[in-house]
């Protein structure tokens, strides 16, 4: 038989379905129903990796989420998954698995001899101590260290799989389908409630799947079958297997990861690989069980040292006995179950070593009756072997388990099953902000006070016997459903258990610091000696000890390590475990793929994109686009063979010399109506709107209450009580919320209504000295002459036969007309304008040329030249701040706070490079003295910078401390590449300073 550790009968595996797989490039065979871990153990493979820091050989220690050692690299190519635990990976045909650590190989490891140096080479705090200074060393060594420490690798290719998200609502969410969870779901379901029952394993049942007990006369397996059939028959119950609830959030919101096809292998994948369930529950039942604790003794990390419950699970569920001669070390009754199971499987139980002086519980008596040797008052102080267990050293202990009281002796064995007591899985309860509470009687942390509508049942609250779990589950299931607790009796024959002993560190004949390593956190190689050292070095808070030693920082979040570590720290600190407390568990309970969190929100669905009505025309013209908020805006329109700068030069010259056209439809537009609309504008803008006549436009500046520039734009008076406000493209939503905020909270007496009309209208800027001649061809009902249609006028009419709102406003300093038509006619009107402009070589231009043209005029772009720290005065825009308005507009009072009134604030000025050909990079820091030692005194930064073809030199804007009083002075911009560019502070109005051009 190729699987030497496989039993010929029993278990929940299917021997008629053999499965081929490979591990570390060797082929093996397992059965359907196996996990990768059980299949490896069946094949006698128990060396599965190298440890994180010391590179020690490691084997499989657990059988579920608690596994700390058996991290795998699963699958190849684009679908490879780093770090699943072999104990949670269902075996599929053709599986390719490798160890994640162990370099160059698991059997011969380059790091192993470094590991043998052990303590001196990598003590706790190693990373801090060694690599804090100099920083350059860390940069040099990081790669090496990470590779040596390795926890797998991710694919560099795009993920070909599909992930979904699902939203659920239910009355009762039951987490964990062990005996307590099944029992709770049954009661809640029988009461007609909407129930979801989720469990991380492929089969519902939890510990029942490996239980040899009877429930009311039926085998656990039969009882489970009946219960699951009943649950499945209820229309109001949803059963989710392979589903891990990994986060428990506010207001009973839960997140769960369902693995739909991972167990089939990458070639068999059809449909969605994983689903993220987002669940809102009225009540939550935590039936998350408990995890067995390892015992901390010398070399307790050797392959062949396993959790006792896991040994039982492998025997009963997978028909695998992971050893020939087993020694059991226990501090409570449950270790005896493993002894009984091993003996039933026909293997040798060397002895049960029980640290307690009296072991008279039911299971202990059964073991003795079965002829198993029980050695009380002893401990396994050390495991022996180089790559796996070959023996153990046992010694008599005092009653407290603190001291060795007599001669030690060696025994021969190849498996050590350890039962160090139970740690309730308090993680989800902890996610709600409830600190776990230490229970002296149970010797474990149990969930703290409920923060939300939450119930607990079974081992998570220390109800360890099967009968107690079942009855407790039924009770809270009914309670969570708002129903009467039923009278159900469960007889499982396990009602009595003897008191366990608290044993967190088994003493060695040598001191902790000199004894063979006694591991607490297997995944992160944290030892008892390491924790004691951290305390000697002055760490007292458990959160600090955690960070210094890295205890609990692994992908297993210290599921097996935490309690032992806390207890060892408490003892060293001479304080109680309750006083020491536990570290906080945070989501996710087990690792979650980014794919599942992202779901379908990837690629083109990552973020909604907004397109203008003319978008396809821009695309056809070969426009390059830039993202402005969610909008796709034409950036520039290159012609064949042009560089970007050549394009920009051509576009800018066309605007200045003939005519250009820009799609400005993305500007935010808010329709404002009401008898108090004008008064509202007075309060929200810095300038005065009292006398703006219908048919007139005005530029407005909006401040936050702290006096800082927030948004700007032109608002048009359409009629006495009707205005159209434009906002920046990116600020539209925020401005609308801002207007609503003030109207609703402070001025509800004002009659004014706001409607977003951004998408309803397109806006085309027709710009340049020939703009009038182009528009005249399309517009026969509006007099466009300079006399009749003045700068800042608005008129309604038609353009190409389409009703239009036309404004004479300019963001370039040129004569220009802004044409607004309903969006549905936008594309048609655009094409008509292009056709009419042909004679003048009308040139479409994008946002980049727009930026250059406005910078030549010194017009600011809010959000580029401003950053929420500039007042209108800082921007040189005091002219737009009314001093005469009756109402103290938003932000006004802040403009003369002592800080905003300072004369040495950073002020927005023009910057003219001394080298006419230079373009200072935007974002460059500005200094006054280029020769000053680092750190230099930075007086501001460059906000906008371009090549101006019209002026034939570079231009820039920037903030400079007290810049207004430094006109003509030279400033310097030290660049990343080592150059320093000099510039002269000047007015930001570089072009047509008297504004003569747009008044034509």
């Amino acid at each position: 038989m190729s699987q030497p550790n496989r039993l010929s009968v029993g278990g929940r595996i299917d021997r008629s379905k053999p499965i081929e797989f490979s591990f570390n490039k060797r082929s093996y065979e397992g059965y359907a129903g196996d996990t990768l871990a059980s299949a490896l153990l069946a094949n006698g493979v128990n060396l599965v990796g190298r440890s994180f820091k010391y590179s020690r050989p490691r084997g499989i220690m657990g059988h579920g989420a608690e596994e700390a050692n058996a991290l795998m690299q699963l699958g190849q190519g684009a679908v490879t998954v780093p770090n699943p635990k072999a104990t949670q990976v269902e075996l599929y045909s053709g599986m390719v698995a490798t160890s994640t650590n162990g370099w160059p190989s698991v059997e011969f490891d380059l790091m192993a001899w470094l590991g043998k140096l052990g303590g001196p080479f990598m003590p706790p705090g190693f990373y801090y101590k060694t690599f804090m200074f100099p920083q350059a060393w860390w940069l040099r060594y990081e790669k090496f260290i990470r590779k040596a420490a390795g926890f797998g690798h991710i694919s560099q290719q795009p993920d070909p799989d599909i992930y979904d998200k699902l939203n659920h609502y239910c009355d009762v969410m039951v987490i964990g389908a062990g005996p307590a969870g099944i029992s709770a779901a049954l009661e809640a379901g029988r009461n007609g409630k909407r129930v979801i029952l989720a469990d991380e394993q492929c089969e519902l049942g939890g510990s029942l799947l490996a239980s040899q007990q009877n429930i009311n006369g039926a085998s656990a397996s039969d009882w489970l079958g009946t219960a699951v059939t009943e649950l499945a028959s209820m229309a109001n119950v949803v059963l989710l297997s392979r589903t891990t609830v990994f986060g428990y959030y506010d207001h009973n919101f839960l997140a769960a990861l369902e693995q739909r096809t991972d167990h089939l292998g990458p070639t068999a994948v059809k449909g969605t690989r994983q689903r993220l369930h987002r669940i809102r529950a009225k009540a939550v039942v935590l039936a998350t069980g408990a995890i067995e604790r390892p015992l901390v003794f010398g070399n307790n990390d050797l392959p062949g040292v396993m959790l006792a419950q896991s040994v039982s699970a492998y025997i009963n569920r997978y028909a695998v006995v992971p050893g020939e001669r087993a020694l059991i070390m226990t501090s409570n009754d449950s270790g005896y179950q493993a002894a009984l199971d091993i003996q039933s499987a026909g293997r040798t139980v060397v002895a049960v070593v029980d640290c307690r002086y009296h072991a008279e519980g039911r299971l202990a008596q059964m073991a003795r009756a079965a002829g198993i040797e029980v050695i009380t008052g002893h401990g396994v102080i050390e495991a022996c072997g180089s790559h796996s267990v070959t023996g153990a050293v046992i010694a008599p202990l005092d009653q407290a388990g603190d001291q060795i009281t007599g001669a030690q002796r060696s025994v021969s064995c190849d498996l050590i099953a350890m039962a160090g007591g139970w740690s309730p899985v308090v993680h989800l309860s902890c996610h709600t902000g409830s600190r776990p509470v230490w229970d002296e009687q149970l010797i474990g942390f149990v969930p703290g006070p409920n923060v939300q509508q939450q119930y607990c049942a079974g081992a998570v609250v220390g109800h360890y016997t099967l009968a107690h779990a079942l009855s407790g589950g039924a009770a809270v299931g009914a309670e969570a459903a708002g129903a009467k607790v039923p009278e159900i009796h469960f007889d499982c024959g396990d009602e009595t258990e003897a008191q366990a002993q608290a044993l967190f560190l088994i003493p060695h004949s040598k001191s902790v610091s000199r004894a063979p390593k006694q591991f607490v956190d297997f995944q992160n190689d944290v030892t008892a000696a390491g924790i004691e050292l951290a305390i000697r070095e002055g760490y007292e808070s458990i959160e600090h000890i955690k960070r210094y030693t890295a205890m609990g920082f692994g992908t297993d979040q210290g599921k097996t390590a935490n309690v032992n570590g806390v207890a060892i720290a408490a003892k060293a600190l001479h304080q109680s475990i309750q006083a020491t407390g536990t570290t906080i568990f945070r989501p996710a309970y087990t690792p979650v793929t980014f794919g599942a969190l992202a779901g379908r929100d990837v690629g083109s669905l990552f973020d909604p994109a907004r397109y203008t009505a003319t978008h396809q025309w821009h695309v056809a013209q070969g426009a390059k686009f830039e993202n402005v908020g969610q909008w796709k805006r034409p950036w520039y329109f290159p012609k064949a063979g042009e560089t970007m700068q050549q394009t920009l030069n051509r576009e800018c010259l066309a605007v200045r010399n003939s005519v250009g056209i820009m799609d400005a439809s993305t500007l935010g537009k808010i329709d404002i109506q009401g008898t108090d609309a004008r008064e509202f504008l007075n309060r929200i803008y810095t300038n005065d709107w009292s006398n703006l006549k219908p048919g007139k436009c005005r530029y407005g500046l909006m401040l936050k209450e702290d006096g800082m520039v927030f948004d700007d734009g032109v608002t048009t008076c359409l009629s006495e009580n009707h205005f159209l406000m434009t906002t920046t493209t990116g600020g539209a939503a925020e401005v609308l919320a801002w207007l609503e905020l003030w109207q609703q909270t402070e001025w509800p007496e004002l009659e004014v209504y706001f409607t977003s009309v951004t998408d309803h209208w397109v806006t085309y800027s027709l710009v340049g000295p020939n703009s009038r001649k182009v528009l005249e061809q399309l517009c026969n009902d509006v007099d466009l002459s300079a006399e009749a249609f003045k700068f800042m006028d608005y008129k309604a009419g038609t353009v190409a036969g389409i009703p239009a709102r036309i404004c004479r406003i300019s963001f370039t300093g040129e004569l220009s007309f802004e044409v607004n038509v309903p969006a549905n006619q936008g594309h048609f009107v655009w094409q008509q304008i292009i056709a009419a402009g042909e004679a003048y070589d009308i040139t479409p231009y994008g946002t980049e040329s727009m930026h250059i043209l406005r910078a030549e005029k010194g017009y600011i772009i809010v959000g580029q030249d401003t950053d929420g720290s500039l007042t209108p005065q800082d921007c040189g825009m005091d002219w737009i701040v009314s001093k005469t308005k009756a109402f103290s507009f938003i932000g006004q009072r802040s403009l003369h706070r002592s800080d905003t009134a300072r004369s040495d604030r950073k002020q927005l000025v023009g910057l003219k490079p001394k080298d006419p050909a230079a373009i200072i990079p935007e974002g460059s820091q500005i200094v006054m003295d280029p020769n000053q030692q680092i750190p230099m005194d930075m007086v501001g930064h460059v906000t906008s910078s371009y090549w101006s073809v019209c002026l034939d030199h570079g231009i820039a804007m920037g903030t400079v401390k007290a810049g207004f009083s430094r006109m003509g002075e030279t400033v310097y911009c030290p660049l990343v590449d080592g150059r320093t560019l000099a510039a002269e502070i000047c007015s930001p109005v570089f072009y047509d300073p008297n504004g003569e051009r747009h008044h034509d």
Partner: protein, 99 residues
């Protein structure tokens, strides 16, 4: 993720529909120009930031687009009540009298 009852829509909705809008019941001074810098700064910058009961504004941005008030426990995130602007909270002291 919170569930919030909009007093205008009169429905319990997901937090993603709302945006937070700061402490509630802070009236804008009627005569800002009459205030000292310290008084203005108190209105502008200083917030109670309590541990426990907090009255705060929320905005039903993806719903009715109206602002309303909520009484929320900043420690447990429990929301005890939501109420329209202009009304006073029913609950004003911390549960259990703890500050």
């Amino acid at each position: 993720m919170l569930q919030i009852y909009c007093p205008y829509c009169q429905e319990l909705r997901e937090e993603t529909e709302f945006s937070y809008s700061g402490e509630a019941h802070i009236a804008r001074p009627l005569e800002p120009q009459q205030l000292t810098d310290a008084q203005w700064a108190d209105y502008l910058f200083f917030r109670t930031n309590p541990r426990g009961i907090h009255h705060e504004m929320w905005y039903h941005a993806s719903g009715c687009r109206r602002y309303f008030n909520a009484t929320r426990n900043t420690q447990t995130y429990e929301i005890y009540e939501t109420y329209p602007l202009g009304q006073q909270p029913a609950l004003t002291c911390d549960i259990g009298g703890k500050r």
